[in-house]
């Protein structure tokens, strides 16, 4: 069930009314049932997968929690010598490690099977075809359950947190199941932190008019972004990539630019609807975007784009790698040799390299995604490796580095890099990426550009109007960083002005939006 369908609007209306009509103690049960109904709409197999993942991580968490409890009880009850205590703790740690390894391996095996088997089989098949082996794998029917990467990562994060002792294992299965399946975030995140999200999900909420109004405004804003901007641009971008061979020249700059706006409007639009729905029910989800296209470098971009994914990889992959004996050994080795720069930089570079490879692979089973991950990783690594030189330069040239034009240049430069990355991300294959990037420098090709604009003028005009509104709102938020600033401004206006704004917003969505075609209902990140 996609957010931008009438089915979802009716579904959420019913959930919202039940949520605040039934006694508060039933709120979390209502959410759980609603979440399962919502997800069951995708497919029965996907639903069973969700149940399996929930059970695996629930049992894993319980098992680790039990080891933790027994350990503290034992240590409390017995006075041990330091060595004995260390030995006992090491033994318990070994047990915990065994459980967490098993859970992670299971989750990765499931994810790997559904997400990467097609990719692996296709490559193996390609080699076999080259060798004329006459073997044919039947892998086309493997379907990736919607949102699998999201809820696997979310539940894996919970289990790791329990393992690290950062959260207590959840004993109530219905509570934990709600954390995994909560319908606003199950398909595309945000990957919610258990310690922050669980008290809200399990708590009881009174109806709050302000939250309901603000939430509804945010839902409407999400619809505007998705229907007016993302869907309109999607039509033009899809047509260009589907028949890429008929497009050449600078039209590709326009297509990549459109794609970057489409992706932002699509993904952040989804988040607005998810966060808005949650806010209406008194639940605050983590923010996933913070005007990312105003970033001054790629590292900053990833702190402002898909924030929860970046945080997940930072917490569970990057830091784990940095703490690993292998990288610790490198650090110590160079420290011993008094090569401070290398001892600080090399482990970072290796950890970043692996993390970015993982981020690339997380997005999908294709070389294009891996290339996209490594491309962004390259800039983040460069940023990290060059940091001492850059900091020194900035100190010596403070006037230039603080100037508006220099920062403007950095924003544009970062945006161009992101757009080049999108040539990998969106293309069907790396060959197409090569074609697109090469084609940009093949000349102006006025007729191709003219035909592209002529054939999509309606969508471009709609998206342009929507894009201007989005830009103004983003500039406002960039300047007034406090969240919900614009909504507060609207709420302070008189009732007729407020209602006029709401009505104009709905009319704009209805007239300028591109909808009705089922293929446009899906959000870009559903596939991941």
């Amino acid at each position: 069930m996609s957010f931008t369908t009438l089915k979802f609007i009716i579904f959420f209306g019913i959930v919202f009314c039940c949520y605040f009509t039934f006694p508060k103690k039933y709120q979390r049960y209502i959410l759980l049932v609603a979440s399962y109904v919502f997800y069951a709409f995708t497919s029965v197999q996907a639903f069973l997968m969700l149940i399996a993942i929930t059970l695996i991580t629930y049992v894993g968490g319980l098992r680790i929690g039990k080891i933790n409890d027994l350990e503290s009880e034992y240590l409390k009850a017995n006075t041990l010598e330091k060595d004995e205590k260390k030995k006992y703790k090491a033994l318990q740690q070994k047990k915990r490690k065994r459980v967490i390894t098993l859970v992670i391996l299971l989750l990765l095996a499931i994810l790997g099977f559904f997400k990467y088997s097609k990719f692996i089989f296709a490559d193996v098949q390609w080699v076999l075809n080259l060798l004329n082996m006459g073997v044919h794998f039947k892998y086309e029917s493997i379907l990736l359950p919607a949102g699998l990467s999201f809820y696997i990562f979310q539940s894996m994060g919970y289990t790791i947190d329990v393992y690290r002792g950062m959260v207590e294992a959840e004993h109530d299965l219905s509570k934990y199941a709600l954390y995994v399946a909560y319908f606003p975030h199950i398909m595309q995140g945000p990957l919610g932190d258990y310690s922050r999200l669980s008290p809200q999900l399990y708590g009881q909420h009174d109806f709050d008019r302000r939250s309901a109004v603000f939430g509804l405004q945010r839902v409407a804003w999400g619809f505007f972004k998705k229907l007016v901007i993302a869907n309109s641009l999607q039509i033009a971008v899809d047509r260009a990539f589907n028949a890429y061979y008929t497009y050449e020249g600078i039209v590709w700059i326009l297509v990549l630019f459109f794609y970057s706006i489409q992706m932002y409007a699509d993904f952040s639009g989804y988040m607005d609807i998810a966060n808005g729905c949650s806010q209406m029910m008194g639940i605050t989800l983590d923010e996933n975007f913070s005007t990312p296209y105003f970033s001054k470098n790629i590292a900053e971009y990833w702190r402002r784009w898909h924030i929860s994914l970046g945080a997940w990889f930072r917490n569970y992959v990057f830091y784990s790698l940095l703490r690993s004996p292998w990288l610790d050994g490198i650090r110590k080795k160079y420290k011993k040799q008094k090569k401070t720069y290398l001892s600080q930089t090399l482990p970072n570079v290796f950890a970043l390299l692996i993390t970015w490879l993982c981020i690339g692979m997380w997005h999908g089973a294709a070389w294009t995604y891996i290339a996209h991950g490594m491309f962004h990783g390259f800039f983040v690594i460069m940023d990290s490796a060059m940091s001492p030189v850059v900091t020194k330069w900035r100190k010596n040239h403070a006037k230039i580095s603080d100037s508006v034009w220099f920062n403007g240049f950095r924003i544009v430069r970062t945006f161009i890099i992101v757009n080049i990355g999108y040539a990998m991300f969106r293309a069907q294959s790396l060959e197409v990426t090569g074609y697109v990037l090469k084609s940009i420098f093949s000349g102006v090709h006025k007729s191709v550009l003219g035909a592209f604009l002529f054939n999509h003028y309606y969508y471009i005009i709609s998206a342009f109007i929507g894009g201007i509104v989005l830009l103004l709102v983003d500039i406002y938020h960039e300047k007034h960083l406090e969240l919900g600033g614009l909504r507060t401004v609207i709420s302070q206006k008189s009732a007729p002005v407020r209602y006029a704004i709401y009505i104009m917003g709905i009319v704009a969505i209805i007239f300028l939006g591109t909808y009705g075609d089922a293929s446009l209902n899906s959000f870009a990140y559903f596939q991941f």
Binding site: I461, I506, I510
Partner: protein, 311 residues
């Protein structure tokens, strides 16, 4: 909460009423802004089909824009001896909608031909709805009955397009209603030389894969076949013309593709894929759009294929 819900619903209702009023006002104010485009051509073909004599067996060829460029119904009529009708302008119209409009005019003894196009993905093209709203509301009757939600979602879009259409003064040089008015089809338009070089056509690349074929369209073709059988008509399948140089699927993959289609579709294919390949010198402005000579060749080939089925 009740107050919040009530207020929200009232605002939504006012917004919807505002949309209705605004939409109506815009429609009136921008009447007849599309004077000459391919949608008008589609309407022309539909009207021609409506006027056909129900008691005389006829040939109806329906499909995408490749028909506009590659089929001369007058020549087909001369070579087969049966009145011929073409119902294909632009694939955006949607194959399913074209079938829906055509169904009522299929009669006993008719031969319905669909040159298969593998990007038959479009279901109900909204472009047609815009056209219909322009001046031909009767073309929407069946659509409204079966797909009211699609129509409702298309209406505002159509109105907005009208507003933006005010700034669109350029006529598409190839898809114009004028081109259809002169005779049965598009053939009298002067397009002797290919607009694309053989290298460009080769670079255009074309692969035949079942992944590009929408199962909805396959199901709809089978339904049409059942209807034809019921009415005593015959549905036959061929392939859309394609520039030989742009095909890059290996012969065994093409064979696989044809077999898969044969298996999925009830009506009979009267030719092989390769029979509809044409040299780059016969192509006009795309790898499926033929020029004057190409049109003659394709029409003649089709007439030959149909002859065994003409009583």
């Amino acid at each position: 909460m009740a107050k919040f819900l009530k207020k929200s619903l009232v605002i939504l209702l006012i917004a919807l009423v505002a949309c209705g009023v605004l939409g109506y006002a815009i429609t009136i104010a921008t009447k007849d802004i599309y004077k000459d485009n391919y949608q008008k051509g589609y309407v022309y073909q539909y009207r021609r089909l409506q006027q056909a004599d129900a008691n005389t067996p006829k040939i109806i060829v329906f499909g995408g824009s490749y028909l506009t460029f590659s089929l001369n119904t007058k020549q087909l009529e001369e070579e087969t001896g049966m009145p011929s009708y073409e119902f294909g302008v632009q694939s955006n119209m949607g194959m399913c909608y074209t079938i829906e409009l055509m169904e009522d005019y299929i009669n006993e003894g008719d031969i319905v031909v669909f040159p298969f196009q593998d990007f038959a993905k479009e279901d109900y093209g909204m472009d047609l709805i815009y056209t219909s709203i322009e001046s031909e509301p009767d073309m929407l009757a069946g659509f409204l009955k079966e797909h009211p939600s699609q129509l409702l979602t298309a209406l505002p879009h159509c109105v907005a397009r009208r507003v933006f259409g005010l700034f669109r003064n350029t006529d598409d040089p190839y898809y114009t209603a004028k081109a259809f008015d002169k005779d049965y089809a598009y053939y009298d338009l002067d397009r002797p030389e290919p607009l694309m070089t053989p290298e460009e056509l080769e670079a255009a690349g074309y692969a035949f894969t079942m992944q590009d074929v929408d199962p909805t369209c396959l199901g709809r073709l089978n339904e049409l076949n059942a209807l034809c059988e019921e009415k005593g008509a015959k549905l036959l399948l061929t392939y859309a013309p394609i520039c030989e140089q742009s095909v890059f699927s290996r012969p065994e993959l093409r064979e696989e593709y044809m077999n898969a289609l044969d298996e999925a579709l009830d009506p009979e294919f009267i030719c092989k894929l390769d029979d509809c390949f044409y040299d780059a010198s016969l192509v006009f402005n795309g790898n499926m759009h033929l020029n004057n000579e190409g049109m003659k060749a394709y029409t003649s080939d089709l007439a030959k294929m149909l002859k065994p089925y003409i009583k």
